[in-house]
């Protein structure tokens, strides 16, 4: 297999794996830019993945080909609502945000598995009939080299993810809301003095992050696994969190990092059919994305410093 063939093979898979990570990492950007550490992304993604599959299974007869897309909206809403728990704990109740996040992660998985057992009477759901479709982009896919790499067999959700990253960049850097969001995460007291409602902005940010993680989870389950079980998400949320840190809390940076982690995952999946790499036992290849994540955090970013007030509840009147 030639080098170009490998690229034609790898790049689409990488982008497919990146899409859920991009959405979820963007969610992380919203939350942490407002000053709320969101390690709960994993649980929120699990919830999204579960709701996506559930909705798809139950409403395929009603919505037909549109089902997977409407399932994304359903997942978005449910995970957004679920994120309120994290918001209440970390904003109003001044909980340790990492601990609250761990609780949400456990809770998300436990609720999803409980409902799976209740509804399907087994450890995983049925397979969905209609997954998110992939297609060749007209005209663009005919361009030599770039065409087969970027525009052939691409999932609609991947395009959506890139659009979402650009919109997030616009919202955070070019709108009044974005300015308030960033100020609340850097210096909440100053923002408060200027009449910004710190806690309200943070609530909105955490709910948005839940919604985006929900979409991310539903994309993953509706493109990759096509059913839901205990190992469906298996660390994707944490990887998205790492992508956010790697991208230095910037939407476009997070997108780039997510594509990089998507590539690492693609290597684990596609590896067995690539010369040289296929010599490595698949078990080790599965560990690769996580090794790459640590290496990325250790080697390339240097000192990662998040928003200044990240992780600190805002208590009016205290310095």
């Amino acid at each position: 297999m030639g080098f170009l063939d490998i690229l034609y093979f790898m790049v689409p898979v990488s982008i497919a794996y990146a899409a859920p990570l991009i959405f979820t990492a963007l969610g992380g950007v919203f939350s942490e830019r407002s000053g709320v550490v969101n390690i709960a992304l994993e649980g929120l993604m699990v919830m999204g993945a579960f709701i996506g599959i559930l909705f798809n299974l139950f409403f395929y007869d009603t919505f037909g080909d549109w089902t997977p897309w409407i399932a994304l909206i359903a997942a978005m809403v449910v995970s957004g609502v679920f994120a309120i728990l994290h918001a209440v704990a970390s904003i109003s109740f001044r909980a340790d945000q990492v601990v609250s996040g761990v609780a949400i992660n456990m809770l998300g998985l436990a609720i999803a598995l409980f409902l799976t057992k209740m509804i399907f009477d087994k450890g995983q759901t049925d397979f969905i009939k209609k997954a998110i479709p992939n297609f060749d982009v007209p005209f663009l896919s005919d361009i030599p080299v770039i065409g087969p790499m970027l525009f052939t067999g691409i999932y609609g959700s991947s395009i959506l993810a890139i659009v979402a990253a650009i919109i997030t960049w616009y919202v955070i850097y070019k709108t009044p809301f974005g300015l308030r969001l960033r100020s609340v995460g850097e210096h909440p007291m100053a923002a408060d003095t200027m009449g910004v409602n710190v806690n309200k902005i943070r609530y909105i940010a955490v709910i948005i992050s839940g919604a985006l993680a929900g979409i991310g989870g539903a994309i993953y389950s509706q493109t990759m696994t096509r059913d839901f079980g205990h190992a469906t998400i298996n660390g994707q949320g944490f990887m998205a969190l790492a992508a956010m840190i790697f991208g230095k809390w910037h939407p476009i940076g997070a997108m780039g990092a997510a594509i990089f982690f998507g590539f690492a995952q693609a290597l684990a999946v596609v590896g067995p059919s690539i010369p040289l790499i296929k010599e490595i036992p698949t078990g080790y290849l599965h560990a690769l994305p996580y090794v790459v994540t640590i290496l990325a955090l250790a080697g390339f970013i240097g000192k990662a410093t998040g928003p200044k007030a990240n992780g600190k509840p805002y208590i009016k009147g205290s310095r």
Binding site: I39, L85, V88, A89, S92, F93, R94, A95, D96, V98, V99, S100, V102, A103, I104, M106, L107, L109, A110, I111, L113, F114, L115, K117, M118, H230, A231, N234, G235, F238, L241, A242, I245, P281, T282, G283, Y284, H286, A287, Y290, V291, T293, I294, L297, A298, K303, A304
Partner: protein
């Protein structure tokens, strides 16, 4: 007693209320899902205390929970959050089984060696996050999480290699086993083993390190205030690494208990054991003290084992108990709100 509830009282009440709230919401979840919560909790109770076999198995389940709880609690006390207990447990399990199966030694050497191998593997797995935190200020939370997944996949691969493509390892030799005829026959042939003694010994060890040694004092000081400790001449980096290593050793021991006591081998896994994550709940509920960890482990270990009886006896998925455990962590984290509520009612009483 003064008009206001004492601080000590409130500190004890917060976890108690968190547990009650957790069980209450669990009941509501069952009710809303069309199950009978009373039947569910009765089944849970029987699953824990039903007969001597259940009690033996419950104590067996509590054993790794104590050690996982110690691991999380020790790190917490020194200002670190070790979410990597799960991965450290998995490598500890594998290392102990490997030593238990690959060497042929007299029991008084073999068993301690196998247990130590587990502790060493766990310590090694925690060393790297500690090192990265100390040298490069990379947050230990994200690194330990990644180490969990690496442990899972690498150990699965090692088991495959060892067994020539199979999905479980050889059994450990009798000379490395924690199994106990006596404890087992006492509890109607449950899998109860001597690991519980190891776990309780480690509770004492943790207490001793933290409260009676200079090292422990330094570790706590660094966790409490890094800058002040540095000013006082303590080496921050060294203490962070040491703390992670000790924490990882406890976690590795938890794995060794599973390998040398409960199962006697190891098999490939599709997902995590969950013990490491539940260890976070154990530590939080026990306020990160050695004695508190025992209480937390008894509670969550019992709930976890007892829940296995729920599908059979009450047709309720056992995951409902995992929901309860997650809720308890959540409510403990929200301790501020509970405290506020308690102070308010105690003030109202005082006013009368």
């Amino acid at each position: 007693m003064s008009a206001n509830m004492s601080n000590r009282m409130i500190n004890l009440l917060v976890p108690a209320i968190a547990v009650i709230l957790g069980l209450l919401v669990g009941a509501i979840v069952m009710l809303l899902s069309g199950y009978d919560p009373v039947a569910g909790y009765i089944a849970l109770w029987h699953g824990i205390f039903g007969d001597s076999y259940a009690i033996g198995e419950t104590i067996r389940q509590i054993t790794p929970y104590i050690l996982a709880g110690l691991a999380v609690a020790f790190a917490f006390r020194t200002g670190l959050f070790n979410i990597g207990v799960e991965g450290q447990l998995i490598v500890g399990w594998f290392a102990s089984v490997y030593v238990g199966a690959a060497f042929d030694l007299p029991k008084f050497i073999h068993l301690p060696l196998a247990i130590l191998a587990g502790a060493a593997a766990g310590a090694l797995w925690a060393f790297l996050p500690g090192l990265l935190k100390a040298k490069m200020k990379i947050h230990e939370v994200i690194v330990t999480i990644m180490m969990n997944y690496i442990a899972l996949h690498v150990v699965n691969a090692l088991i495959k290699t060892w067994s020539g493509g199979g999905d479980k390892t050889d059994r450990i030799l009798e000379s490395a086993s924690l199994r106990s005829e006596f404890l087992s026959s006492l509890t109607d042939y449950s899998r109860l083993h001597y690991g519980i003694l190891v776990a309780l010994l480690m509770v004492v060890v943790m207490w001793f390190i933290l409260e009676k040694t200079t090292t422990g004092f330094e570790l706590k000081a660094v966790g409490f205030n890094e800058h002040a400790s540095e000013y006082a001449g303590m080496k921050i980096g060294k203490n962070i690494i040491l703390s992670m290593v000790i924490s990882g050793a406890f976690a590795g021991l938890a794995g060794a208990m599973e390998g040398l006591g409960t199962f006697g081998n190891m098999y490939t896994r599709g997902g995590f054991t969950g013990i490491g994550f539940d260890g976070i709940a154990v530590a939080l509920l026990g306020a990160n003290t050695p004695i508190g960890v025992i209480f937390g482990a008894v509670l969550f270990g019992s709930l976890k084992y007892g829940s296995l009886n729920m599908p059979n006896a009450a047709q309720i998925p056992e995951e409902v108990v995992q929901i309860v455990i997650a809720l308890v962590i959540f409510f403990v984290a929200c301790g501020y709100a509970i405290r506020l509520f308690l102070t308010k009612i105690s003030k109202n009483k005082g006013a009368k």
